[in-house]
């Protein structure tokens, strides 16, 4: 092995490197906690904890580049593997530590699996309503669907990560060999409101069909942001470009006529299909007497899968777990009789392959600490025993 690689491995597996990582983690946790009071959990989590690199602006003036927690955890994983497992002295005295380190590695791995593969969202139902999909709290998607025609159709999906990083000043074009047009997403805003233009405003904003997108301040609760963008469809056959505003709360998709066919471009929260359907049979909620605080709420649902129905009760502490999905009773929406909207139950839905890993990791770490403690205790008792014997012998 070359000298450089040996040095690199020495560094990556060193105790000092681990200390540096922990110091950075402490700093980032502190900064993220402070910033969360103004920015909200979602944005702070993405900025500090899900990034490779972050710039913290001290006093809003001085930029301080820092490694993100994602990068630190990757490095810590390498550090723990090299220094805490591979290079660790193996023996009776370090057996417990080895188990603890393996438990910690499992915890970090579980976090990685959750980050890369887990999805979460919600399903909101009124009584007697059914659904076989749930939608995200934060992520959007743009869908392109051909309208009309008989039989099945292919819907093209542009996921959140392909456009949500765009700023109002840049654009991105999406294409597909089977689409008769290219779609450009321009002027993307994380939180926007379409407003009608007036004669004065029309001079300074981009207007489409008498409306423009007014940027709004970002909400602290990220799920309250309603994104918007300008969509420009350019037919590949060379026809005129067509424009529309896409907005997260739009009640109808934008329709474009291209080469004699109608295409619907919709913009909504990202949806995932479930392999089964959930029907809300009854929603029960109680308030603490004399207050508006919820004491209990619960949903009686029927799960229908392959024609087989099963009645299930979902409460705040008793979720439904099935096929890797977990349904929690999260909240509820009061009725709005003026709009004909009844009371609705909101179920949080999570699909996390690493759902149980934190539990197993904690068990392993506890086991390792117990083993280490018992070994140390035994050693201490033996040493004390010998010392007392020696003392008696002298006496």
């Amino acid at each position: 092995m070359s000298k450089a690689i040996r040095i690199l491995i020495d560094v990556l597996g060193s105790y000092g490197f681990a200390c540096i990582i922990f110091i950075f983690m402490l700093i980032l946790t502190f900064l993220g906690t402070i910033e969360q009071t103004s920015q909200g959990l979602f944005d702070v989590q993405r900025k500090y904890f899900e990034s490779l690199f972050v710039v913290h602006w001290a006093f809003d003036v001085v930029p301080i580049p820092l490694p993100g927690v994602y990068l630190l955890l990757v490095l810590f994983c390498i550090n723990l593997l090299i220094g805490g497992v591979v290079r660790m002295r193996k023996g009776k005295n370090t057996f417990g530590n080895l188990i603890v380190h393996l438990g910690m590695l499992l915890m970090i791995l579980g976090g990685g699996i959750k980050y890369w593969f887990a999805v979460d969202g919600h399903m909101t139902l009124a009584e007697n309503e059914s659904s076989s999909e749930f939608e995200s709290y934060f992520l959007w998607e743009i869908t392109l669907t051909p309208a009309g025609g008989e039989g099945p159709a292919v819907q093209y999906i542009i996921p959140n990560e392909e456009f949500a990083y765009l700023s109002p000043d840049n654009a991105k074009t999406f294409t597909h060999p089977q689409l008769p047009f290219d779609l450009s997403i321009e002027g993307y805003q994380r939180n926007a409101q379409p407003l009608p233009v007036g004669p004065v405003i029309a001079n300074s904003v981009r207007a489409v069909d008498g409306f423009f997108l007014q940027p709004q301040d970002l909400m602290k609760e990220a799920e309250q942001n309603v994104a918007g963008a300008y969509a420009v469809v350019r037919p590949k056959s060379g026809g005129d470009a067509q424009e529309a505003i896409l907005w997260g709360f739009q009640q109808h998709p934008a329709a474009f006529a291209v080469d004699g066919a109608t295409w619907l471009v919709d913009f909504h929260k990202k949806r995932w299909a479930l392999p089964f359907a959930i029907t809300l049979d009854k929603f029960t909620h109680e308030l603490h007497p004399g207050t508006q605080m919820a004491r209990m709420f619960m949903s009686d649902v029927t799960k229908t899968e392959n024609g087989v129905e099963q009645a299930i009760k979902i409460t705040m502490n008793e979720p439904l777990r099935h096929e890797g999905y977990t349904f929690y009773q999260a909240s509820w929406q009061p009725a709005d009789p003026q709009r004909g909207i009844p009371v609705r139950s909101t179920l949080a839905v999570v699909k996390d392959p690493a759902d149980r890993i934190p539990l197993y990791s904690c068990i392993i770490v506890t086991l390792g600490l117990t083993v280490h403690f018992c070994l140390k205790l035994g050693k201490h008792l033996r040493r004390e025993g010998k010392r007392l014997e020696a003392k008696r012998a002298l006496a």
Binding site: P152, Q251, Q338
Partner: protein, 371 residues
């Protein structure tokens, strides 16, 4: 150990530069994700952007006295009409010059009062707010049969969101506060253009009128009125006295020994901010605690135009910031209903004892509404 530490710090410090040097991604992206649908959606009927965004469809350019609105007006010579909207019930282009605009807005609630709105306009023109004395000294001009505050400001227009910078602009306007509503007429544009159109602005304001209500027919216990939007009719209790027509009200009744207790019906387009906002606006007028969604959902209901509508009651010191009316030991009964895209407000307010005596009649009146 020390050299290892140094190397570790150096390694970490180089990583940001490496990451920053990575590209931002392609500007053209091939869509990779697809989903199979069992059936293609049906071709949509033509939907305007206003309908897509859940807003009232802008009316077609209207001649004076559009049948869709409760107003009638004359378009000054040389001016053109633009599509109206939920916020701009009348929308005009002064002198046909797109650099200027003139519109009428009606908002339920006081919005903080006339003085606050004058200062909001001054802020849009990059001007300092007026003191109480300066506000009191502002001239008055007639609008819809009432005295409205008249303003004329020169300045740099920075827009409603503060994101514009238009120097040498002029704003003129009238703000009228009537019970439960604010009426705003505003003209804005380059100073030289607005100065030229000022006379026609006043002509337009003078031409603004509330459309005539239907004349009562039959016995005194039965009063009919036709809101052009909903063609509302009702049956009023015998001891209620119909008042002269007021701006922004379909009908007004007074009752009680001094006629201090008043009940009226107002109709506005759209949801006017939503149920919770409007109920809590009434709570604010009574100095009462606001209600959250759950509390509003549990309110008793009355049937208005065949649909259940919440009935709210507040007690306290009633203050109408728009016109300064106050009733100590007041009581308010209110119903907010929606029908056909319109919001219907039915409100009875007065001294607590009188309102309590009228409660059953108020409920019967609400349930008598029909169209």
């Amino acid at each position: 150990m020390n050299s290892s530490l140094v190397r570790a710090v150096l390694a970490l410090s180089m990583l940001p530069a490496l990451i920053l040097s990575c590209g931002q991604g392609n500007s053209v992206q091939v869509i990779e994700e697809t989903r199979q649908l069992d059936r293609a959606p049906a071709p949509p009927t033509a939907v305007s952007s206003a309908e897509r965004f859940g807003m009232r469809t802008p009316a077609a350019p209207a001649v004076a006295g559009s049948s869709a609105l409760p107003f009638e007006w004359s378009v000054p010579e040389g001016w053109t009409e633009a599509p109206s909207s939920q916020m701009r019930l009348v929308n005009l282009v002064p002198g046909g010059d797109s650099r200027a605009e003139c519109y009428l807005t009606v908002l339920p609630g006081s919005g903080g009062g006339v003085e606050a709105n004058v200062n909001r306009w001054r802020n849009q023109m990059s001007l300092e707010p007026l003191s109480a004395e300066e506000f009191a000294a502002l001239p008055k001009k007639p609008l819809l049969g009432e005295e409205a505050v008249y303003v004329e400001f020169d300045g740099v227009y920075k827009g409603m969101s503060g994101d514009q910078n238009q120097p040498d602009f002029k704003m003129v306007g009238l703000i009228l506060g009537v019970r439960d509503s604010g009426v705003f007429v505003k003209m804005l544009g380059p100073k030289d253009l607005i100065d030229k159109e000022l006379g026609r602005f006043h002509e337009f304001c003078e031409s603004l009128k509330i459309k005539q209500a239907g004349t009562p027919a039959g016995s005194a216990s039965e009063a009919h009125n036709h809101s052009e939007e909903l063609a509302l009719q009702w049956t009023a209790p015998e001891d209620w006295t119909k008042s002269p027509d007021r701006p922004m009200r379909a009908v007004t009744f007074t009752m009680g020994a001094d006629g201090e207790t008043e009940c009226y019906v107002s109709v506005f387009p759209g949801d006017t901010g939503g149920l919770e906002a409007n109920i809590n606006r009434w709570a604010g007028q009574m100095g009462a605690a606001t209600l959250d969604e759950a509390a509003i959902a549990s309110l008793p209901k009355v049937s208005v135009l065949g649909e259940p509508a919440p009935l709210v009651e507040f007690s306290g010191h009633f203050t109408d910031t728009m016109n300064g009316t106050e009733i100590a030991d007041g009581h308010l009964l209110g119903v907010v209903a929606t029908h056909g895209g319109q919001s219907i407000f039915i409100k009875l307010v007065g001294p607590a004892a009188e309102v309590a005596a009228q409660k059953e009649k108020f409920i019967a009146f609400c349930e008598s509404l029909r169209h």
